[in-house]
């Protein structure tokens, strides 16, 4: 008996990581080679949100059934994209809590909660958290009151806790951090409160800050000249959605949000860099390698906080390393991800603010597009043609799948007086919602942006997409449907009414060598598999 016990201990010692998460950086770099897990926000650093698992096929998906449901018991929506490793699913739930769940049963293994201060400010953002990052034996989460916290993956105990910004002026963290080699990269929300945005990197072991990149350049920095007067000080530029990473180029790709005040451009003359831009930063130093601004001098709140998708494509006969993104402004873009060179930009949704893009990708503006006191009707609405929810890229179909919001809005211009700790938007919108709007999943040819198929949704969605090697695209509707489409044709193959709006991204993983898919909806997480 005693020797058996010792043998058991020995086996445990020999197989670290089989029972508990040990997620090395190298493992995340090769995430696609172990599709049984979901190791980082978008499934891999390239952010394809694609799973190589193929047990669930268009032929079999009709048999998909819930395995378990986890309910948060919190009235705020779950927008978290879970991570799964070695039998444990890590989910966040509002306000900024982390829960580790047993993938077999849905029962909790530990929870970590940070009580929010009574005077917490969430200006222009919902009380949500979009997920954690994993690295080695730690779980990283950002909180609404700006603590970046490292938790022990086995126990949920705090390893370190670093405050990265003050909340009283409107900063919050809602994004999942991105863990790369020894570093945790985290973005910030608060772009509707006149913050000065930044992107930060912290040492994964100690929580010490390694670098900060201000998204609004200060005096004597390149780009500062794009802000009239003192307007840069309240220039916003949130970094509130997880970016992607190219380990070979050692570049982090991260989107930047709207300028402040959102709808009142008069008080901030200029292009307002680096708002509404994609940044490519050196991961070691935080220095800018290049940037591309999708919407110069934005007045419609079209944050570029979308997931940048890294892939290789042949553009005009030449193989290129590209970054593909469907922007909130209604255009699909391909950029060279080594240089930032503009390669392609075409509309993928109804837009009425630009005649098109010029040869360097700068929009050619339609007249009278700006918000007015009486309201100006423009497509898309301020929530954009798409938003934070993830697109998906399948290397098998070579299609870029995107959830599209077809909705216009009357944009209003208001006053823009900055007061610390208050919203600083200078106007608003009146969306043409309900029966005047609709949603869609669109499959775009990655190299041209041409639409291959469309699946109509009853209402504009808030859910991301997951393509699988089984030939399916999973997504969610705002009416509560979790569904699967044929990845080649867009034909619906299966759906399940979850009973709550789907405002999250799907993932896929294995439990005991069987494929499952999971998605949050309403205030719950659902896991589905074949019987």
């Amino acid at each position: 008996m005693n020797s058996l016990w010792l043998l058991g201990c020995f086996v445990l010692l020999l197989s670290p990581g089989r029972l508990w998460a040990q997620v090395s950086y190298e493992r995340i770099v090769r995430a696609e080679s172990e599709p049984g897990h979901w190791l980082t926000y978008s499934g891999g650093y390239s952010a394809h949100r694609f799973s190589l698992l193929k047990q669930i096929t268009p032929q079999k998906v009709a048999g998909l059934k819930p395995l378990w449901v986890y309910q948060t018991g919190n009235s705020n929506p779950v927008e978290s994209s879970p991570l799964v490793v070695d039998g444990v699913l890590y989910l966040t739930q509002p306000p900024s809590s982390v829960i580790a769940l047993d993938v077999h049963s849905g029962r909790s293994l530990w929870t970590w909660e940070r009580p929010m201060p009574r005077d917490l400010r969430t200006l222009g953002l919902p009380v949500v958290n979009r997920g954690v990052a994993l690295l080695n034996d730690m779980v990283f989460v950002g909180t609404l009151d700006n603590h970046l916290v490292a938790l022990d993956a086995k126990s949920g105990a705090v390893r370190w806790d670093t405050v990265i910004a003050e909340n009283k002026t409107g900063y919050s963290i809602t994004a999942a951090p991105l863990a790369i080699d020894g570093k945790v990269i985290v973005g910030i929300s608060g772009g509707d409160a006149g913050i000065r945005g930044f992107l930060d990197a912290y040492d994964a072991r100690s929580g010490q800050q390694l670098w900060r990149f201000w998204t609004i350049p200060g005096p004597e920095e390149i780009g500062h000249e794009t802000w009239g007067g003192e307007s840069w000080k309240t220039g916003a530029g949130g970094t509130w959605l997880t970016g992607s990473y190219d380990p070979q180029l050692n570049l982090v790709y991260w989107g930047v949000g709207n300028p402040g005040p959102d709808f009142l451009g008069d008080v901030r003359p200029g292009d307002n860099l680096y708002t509404c831009s994609l940044l490519a930063l050196d991961a070691s130093t935080g220095k800018r390698k290049w940037h591309f601004q999708f919407t110069p001098h934005d007045v419609h709140d079209w944050d570029a906080n979308q997931v940048p998708v890294l892939l290789d494509a042949v553009v005009e006969g030449r193989p290129r390393k590209v970054v593909a993104t469907a922007n909130r402004n209604g255009f699909y873009y391909l950029l060279d991800r080594e240089t930032g060179e503009f390669l392609l930009g075409v509309p993928y949704a109804k837009q009425t603010w630009a005649e098109g893009l010029d040869h360097v990708g700068r929009p050619i503006l339609t007249p009278d597009r700006s918000p007015t006191a009486e309201g100006t009707l423009i497509y898309p609405s301020l929530q954009g043609a798409t938003n934070w929810f993830s697109p998906s890229f399948s290397p098998l179909t070579k299609l870029f799948y995107v959830s599209v919001r077809e909705m216009g809005a009357y944009y209003f211009k208001g006053e823009g007086e900055y007061k610390p700790g208050m919203t600083f938007v200078g106007g608003g919108e009146h969306a043409l919602a309900g029966d005047q709007a609709y949603g869609a999943v669109r499959a775009l040819e990655v190299e041209t942006g041409k639409m291959q198929w469309e699946f109509r949704l009853h209402s504009p969605p808030w859910a991301g997409l997951l393509a699988t090697a089984g030939g399916l695209v999973f997504g969610g509707s705002h009416e509560g449907n979790f569904y699967a489409l044929d990845a080649w044709t867009g034909e619906p193959r299966w759906q399940f009414q979850t009973g709550g709006p789907v405002r999250a991204n799907p993932i896929s993983f294995l439990i005991d060598d069987k494929q499952y898919v999971a998605i949050a909806a309403g205030q719950a997480l659902f896991v589905f598999g074949l019987p």
Binding site: G414, F424, G428, G434, P501
Partner: protein, 284 residues
């Protein structure tokens, strides 16, 4: 940040002597008083604030509540006491947070000061003398129950048919302009509601006609809909269809199951009916 520093040489002698006193004692007290005022917010009343509140209201609220808050799709606000709000703080809170289960959305694009300006404007609406409606509610009640045939399809205080909306509190929920429009051209004034959380703007009582792939035909009113299914009701029952099973799904926007009363009733009879409906404020 603008800071006012008085020039010493222009201060009267007494004040000059007490300059230090002012700096040390009076200014901090003023600051404290200002902080207390901000903490215990009240709706501002200055003409400038009212004008700003009016402008914001007309831009962002009037689509539902009508220009001047006379009501429309949303309730009239031209009364001292509002249904969901006892005081200014309540009004502020429901503008900021919305009212779940109704068409009133959360308003995050206004800052606190702007909301207080809107609250001030709404409060000023409560002080205006409501325009007396031209009709006679007692006569309107008779029309409702007899010639109008309204009770065939509508419930008031528990009595009546159940195809159309319950009108027990319709006077508290809708303005007179909207009520008249709904009687004259019902198809253009279908109420809008929520088919899903946060998704306002869906026509309720929308006439919908479906034909299934096996040839079955149903005409009724849309009750609910998602991407894959639609729920319909008629006088007798509910129906549920998978859209994949339908050959036709016609949502007849611009139409209503309710007849227009433009020619069925005289103009003064419509006035009476509107006055009666406007008087329906809920069960005691």
């Amino acid at each position: 940040m603008f800071t006012f520093i008085p020039r010493r040489d222009r201060l009267p002698t007494m004040l000059r002597r007490s300059y230090r006193f002012l700096l040390v004692f009076v200014f901090p007290c003023l600051l404290l008083a200002q902080t207390a005022l901000q903490k215990d917010q009240v709706a501002p009343d200055s003409q400038k604030d009212l004008a700003a509140g009016k402008r914001l209201f007309e831009g962002q609220c009037a689509r539902c509540h009508g220009i001047g808050g006379t009501g429309g799709q949303g309730p009239s606000l031209t009364r001292p006491r509002l249904r969901h709000a006892v005081d200014d703080v309540d009004v502020f809170s429901l503008i900021r947070n919305g009212i779940p289960g109704t068409g009133m959305p959360q308003i995050w694009t206004l800052n606190d000061r702007e909301i207080w300006q809107v609250v001030g404007y709404i409060r000023s609406l409560g002080r205006t003398v409501p325009v007396a409606l031209p009709g006679d509610p007692a006569k309107g009640k008779v029309i409702y129950e007899s010639k109008g045939g309204c009770a065939n399809c509508h419930i008031v205080s528990g009595q009546g048919g159940n195809l159309g909306p319950d009108l027990t509190e319709i006077g508290a929920r809708r303005g007179a302009v909207y009520l008249r429009a709904a009687l004259v051209d019902p198809g253009a004034a279908l109420p809008e509601g929520l088919l899903t959380d946060y998704a306002i703007g869906y026509s309720e009582f929308l006439p919908t006609h479906v034909v299934t792939r096996d040839g079955r035909e149903v005409k009724g009113l849309r009750v609910n809909e998602d991407t894959f299914t639609v729920q319909i009701r008629d006088l007798d029952r509910f129906y549920s269809f998978r859209k994949a099973d339908l050959k036709e799904l016609n949502k007849e926007f611009g139409k209503s199951p309710m007849p227009s009363y433009e020619t069925k009733l005289s103009s003064s009879e419509i006035d009476d009916l509107v006055a009666y409906l406007a008087s329906l404020r809920g069960n005691p």
